[in-house]
Amino acid sequence: MAAPLTLLFLLAVTVRAALFNSSLKELISDRVEVVSPLTAWKRVIEGLALLDLGVSPYSGDVFHETPLVIYLFHFVVDYAEVTFMLADLITAGCLYMAVKDYNKQVFRKQKFALEADRYPLDCLELIRSPKEMHYIPLKVAMFYLLNPFTILSCVARSTCCLNNAVIALFILSTIKGNLLLSAVFLSLATYQCLYPLVLVAPALLYLLQHQYIPVNFRRPNFWWLVAQYLFMFGGSLLVVVCLSFFLLGSWDFLSSVYGFILSVPDLTPNIGLFWYFFAEMFEHFRLFFLCVFQINVFFYTIPLSLKLKDHPVFLIFMQLSIISIFKSYPTVGDSALYLSFLPVWTHLHRFLRNIFLVSCLLLASSLLFPVLWHLWIYAGSANSNFYYAITLVFNVAQILLVSDYFYAFLRREHHLTYGLYLKRKDGSEAAMVLK
């Protein structure tokens, strides 16, 4: 499989290099759908300039990246384009290897379950074969690299690509079962954008499963692994934060980065849900709604972890999608990361109910974003309501997509336990209803 992967990498690099050398680069770097105040390249340059002058880069409320990023770019600013292309390739490579490993484990588990005769007889058509799973890692890498959202983020030099690379490294190290690396990469991802904190739960669940420790609060080895992981995670986070302090010599970055993410002071329109709400809200209620919106991102961890405790990789997918829909400054690059996981769940296609509607909505809203932005800002004929309407359509489409996959996943699990053709107690045909 190395040859198709190399070919894919070459194609991805060619497309990105072609766009880097065209006149579209500046145009794409300005689009609000692709860059946010947290990830814009212009702001990184501004921060570097301030650093060169000896002033703190966080003065002036322009720069909101973490100190490690600014030091990274201090050294590689001349090779920025190569860095971003490399980040994309790393993400795709990590996702490829992670999904390959995951597929092997899924197939092994399925084999054991078949031998133990745990599946009812009529759901044999739901069993997956190695042949159909053979091309899935390549498809995942392709979905990530050739997704227009990813290409646009890379050409705009949005640091979202670096965030995605770190999260992909975390996913790879978790699936390989390496506690230390998983904790380190997760702490880096949390340090970068705070929201990956919710991925602690699926990581823990996966590592417990990997080491055959059942989730039982009375067992000492459960607590031992949890304590180990949290200690490593907390420790590396502390190390990275203190390192940032020593690099820049002040604690400014805490309020400029995490304070900015949590308190949402910048209301530039983007594809998220926060800006319009907070633009029209009275000051009196601002704190309350801020808390509600931020808790919304973190809250789904608990019920989802309870429901999906046996399927931590699907939980990672769900958490990633929830982060990219509900975070305070989303961009299309965040969506690209969870969209690249869709080939892993191709076996769920027969249970998906809304796939046509969702694809049409996603396609239409992605194409209407620039049109309505033009009508609002340049032609002056529309106003912010039009743009927010399309934002809402885009987010509703994403939510429908994710909940559809969730339904399909749960339904397949249900069929694997109770059989494909459901019968009531008296033998007549039953239908499954989602309550």
Binding site: F356, C360, A364, L368, V371, L372, L375, A379, G380, S381
Partner: protein
């Protein structure tokens, strides 16, 4: 009280106008500068030059060089943050000489008034739209069309509104209001209402699309005139060209309109002083604006000056057309997803899902390459065409465009040699992609330029919904060609002439059609009109996909 209640001023204005009655060669820059300075304005000039991509045969120009002259009347007691523009284009000959005279007369009158809170910029631009584009680009420090111009030395703040005058005789029988701007953008309806209100107040006959206003809009003939006026507005908006000098202001979020004086054979004439009073009233109203005009509609169609159709009424019509495409897409999706009844089909299906992607990718790529060829070849290869054929450059460009368009029709018979899977599933997948592509394309077009989107939807949606490889081929091929964008344009040209009550013969109509194509290409290169790239790069490839489906084997 008002303009020219003073007889001396009136005499001065008439002197000025008679002087300008003589034909002018080129633009009298020095005379204009001196006259404006004598009236107390701050005068500046801007020179510009542009070589058109190919000669413009309508206006007979190729390498254009000119000078814009503008004078700024500073507001006596206000900070210089906002401005209003009054412009008149000065072309060789006596096309618009009276407008310049009226402009100078108004400048002199406004100089003595104390109520102006915004700066007034009196602009005389040469080579109409090209000069206006150069001035606007210089004023706003943008350079989107590759023109050479000298920077402006005097500015007046952000422009709130602009009016453009076209007068070629010192008495008129009616005033025509022109609203359609570049890419079908319209000014705020408040500006049109302002003009109509003042016309009624001063009892000046006013028209829109050249049609007089009447009292009986409810009668059959009144209704038919309203429909004709609206259809004319739709055609003009769909062409995407600026129909007056005001058309280029709209892109910068400046509400602008053009006022044309029409001198026909009526008995009651309106003289320049009344027109001056009308303009004075309009400028006093615009002067009182606290914010830009935004309260009224930006998207409307006008069957008459006293009625309008807002976006809330006309968009559902378009929405229903788009729904046809979406329902067809849903139908195709359901057909594709329902598993076939027999078991032996299933093996074939799995084998076809991979080559399925390739078999739709090839028609997509080939159609878009043809679209790119249609966009780039006509202008790039005009020199080569002129060497080999006895045609002028403009004819070469237009005929190359038509040739590439017709050559695209020959394609379907070639793409199938490379894809071996020409099956029932294949054309359904291609049609699903094509129908969704058309729906989204028409939606985006209708949002930006509703008339263009609607006309394209009317002609393309029926064939897109019904074409399959199984319909009678000859009849459908004719229908598809007759409803293709090029033929729609041909029919629109004849229809437009009919609506203007100037029907043309077939020969003249064909020449007019060729000139319309050349103007469309020129508008794209000179002012950034989006109609030509939209049709060449997006609508034509989409139409080719349907042509491909019709001839699917």
């Amino acid at each position: 009280m008002g303009l020219l209640s003073d007889p001396n001023r009136r005499r001065a204005l008439i002197n000025l106008l008679t002087r300008l009655n003589a034909p002018i060669c080129g633009m009298p820059v020095d005379w204009l500068v001196k006259t404006m300075q004598a009236r107390g304005l701050e005068v500046f000039t801007q020179s510009f030059s542009r070589t058109l991509p190919f000669p413009d045969e309508n206006k007979e120009r190729y390498m254009v060089k000119g000078t814009n002259v503008y004078g700024i009347l500073r507001a006596p007691r206000a900070p210089r943050t906002e401005a209003l523009v009054l412009s008149a284009s000065c072309s060789p000959g006596d096309e618009n000489n009276q407008a310049v005279g009226l402009l100078l007369g108004l400048a002199q009158y406004f100089r003595n008034q104390i109520y102006f809170a915004k700066d007034l910029i009196f602009l005389v631009n040469e080579h109409d739209l090209i000069g206006m584009q150069a001035w606007l680009e210089g004023y706003h420090h943008t350079n989107t069309t590759g023109m050479d111009w000298t920077p402006l030395h005097g500015r007046g703040g952000s422009i709130q509104a602009a009016l453009s005058l076209e007068l070629n005789s010192h008495v008129v029988t009616s005033l025509d209001l022109v609203l359609e701007g570049l890419n079908g953008q319209l000014p705020n309806l408040d500006l049109a209402n302002l003009f109509y209100a003042f016309c009624q107040k001063l009892s000046v006959l006013c028209t829109i699309e050249g049609k007089l206003q009447r009292n009986d809009w409810d009668s059959v003939s009144g209704y038919s005139q309203a429909v004709q006026t609206m259809m004319l507005m739709v055609m003009k908006q769909a062409s995407g060209r600026p129909w007056g000098d005001h058309g280029l202001f709209l892109r910068y979020h400046i509400e602008a309109a053009t006022i044309k004086g029409i001198n026909s054979f009526r008995q009651d004439k309106t003289d320049a002083t009344t027109i001056g009073r009308l303009l004075e009233g309009m400028y006093r109203k615009l002067n009182n604006l606290l914010e830009r005009l935004h309260q009224s509609y930006f998207f409307y169609l006008m069957p008459s000056l006293s009625n309008f159709v807002s976006i809330g009424y006309y968009m559902p019509a378009f929405g229903l057309l788009a729904v046809i495409l979406l329902l067809r897409a849903l139908d195709l999706w359901v057909q594709l997803v329902t598993p076939p009844p027999r078991n032996e089909e299933r093996v074939n299906d799995i084998a076809q899902s991979c080559p399925g992607v390739l078999s739709i990718l090839i028609p997509l790529v080939i159609s878009h390459l043809t679209g790119v060829a249609l966009y780039m070849l006509p202008v790039r290869f005009q020199e080569m065409a002129v060497e080999h054929f006895p045609v002028s450059e403009t004819e070469a460009v237009v005929l190359t465009a038509i040739a590439v368009y017709t050559a695209g029709l020959a394609l379907p018979h070639n793409t199938h040699r490379y894809s071996s899977e020409g099956t029932e599933q294949g054309w359904r997948v291609l049609k699903l992609v094509a129908v969704l592509y058309l729906a989204v394309l028409l939606g985006c077009t209708a949002l930006i330029n509703f008339s263009l989107g609607f006309i394209l939807a009317l002609t393309l949606v029926p064939v897109a919904a019904f074409v399959t490889p199984h319909v009678p081929k000859v009849l459908s091929a004719f229908a598809l060609v007759f409803l293709s964008p090029a033929c729609t344009l041909l029919f629109s040209v004849f229809f437009y002439q009919e609506l203007q009550e100037m029907p043309v013969s077939f020969q003249d109509g064909w020449i007019l059609y060729l000139s319309v194509i050349s103007q469309g290409i020129l508008d794209h290169y000179l002012y950034g009109s989006l109609v030509y790239p939209l049709i060449a790069l997006l609508v034509y490839p989409c139409w080719l996909l349907f042509w491909n489906i019709l001839f699917w084997k």
